[in-house]
Symmetry: C2
Subunit: 135 residues, 2 copies
Amino acid sequence: MRPDPFQRNCGSRQVIDRIGDRWSVLVVLTLADGDRRYGELAEHIDGISQKMLTQTLRGLERDGLVTRTVHASVPPRVDYALTGLGRSLLDLVSGLESWATTHLAEVQAARVRYDADLPRRSPTGTARPTRPSRR
Amino acid sequence: MRPDPFQRNCGSRQVIDRIGDRWSVLVVLTLADGDRRYGELAEHIDGISQKMLTQTLRGLERDGLVTRTVHASVPPRVDYALTGLGRSLLDLVSGLESWATTHLAEVQAARVRYDADLPRRSPTGTARPTRPSRR
DNA sequence: CAGGATCCTAACCGATACTG
DNA sequence: CAGTATCGGTTAGGATCCTG
């Protein structure tokens, strides 16, 4: 029986979920160029909280995509790096990044068009979920 | 100034967020082979609720990835299809699917290994989120 | 420096009921 | 059939404080 992400309990869906995680993609991309320290990751990924960074790294480590190396020094130093498995994902993930930057303008234009049409369809102004813009 | 997903307010991060959505990938994949009715989508994507399906479709429509066609008939019939922009995403998304199915075993093995080491680090067994299978 | 532990709110999401 | 509206539990995730 081959994995089928359309089936509820198939593990492949969990894998998709991890990749589809809000921060995983950005972390993996940051590690593309080589090892990074915890603090470097935190600095490079604007807006990520310490909690989410740690949580994301643990998840990636658990899934075998990232290694965590603790150097016994003072102050402590922890390096993160992609595993072979993690690097195998790199093409896909950077493809995602470039798709996003390439088609960003189109997507934004589509949004403007869609939102402009909304008033006609919901007369009383059924408020959209109102993405409350981070912060 | 080019879009940089590492910057907090860059739109490209919103695009990544949409792709990284729990259901968007599955919906796009389902539409890969051609138009689908609302009910067909619901049936094919196991475990999605009607609310999430609608919400996901609206999001994809808003971003210009999917079209929604209402046929004036009784009973009503609504077809969804990928736009050109949506199809441009297809390679990436199906790449994601095949990566997931290909490396599923490795990921699961890594998890087992990681979890086996955990007891030594968190004695009380910090339970995983435990995705609750609905019903 | 690299996190662990807590607290707390907002967003997610499923279940249910209702409508054109 | 294809939704919308609403309620309520669950989770995500930021802020803050603390430690080796």
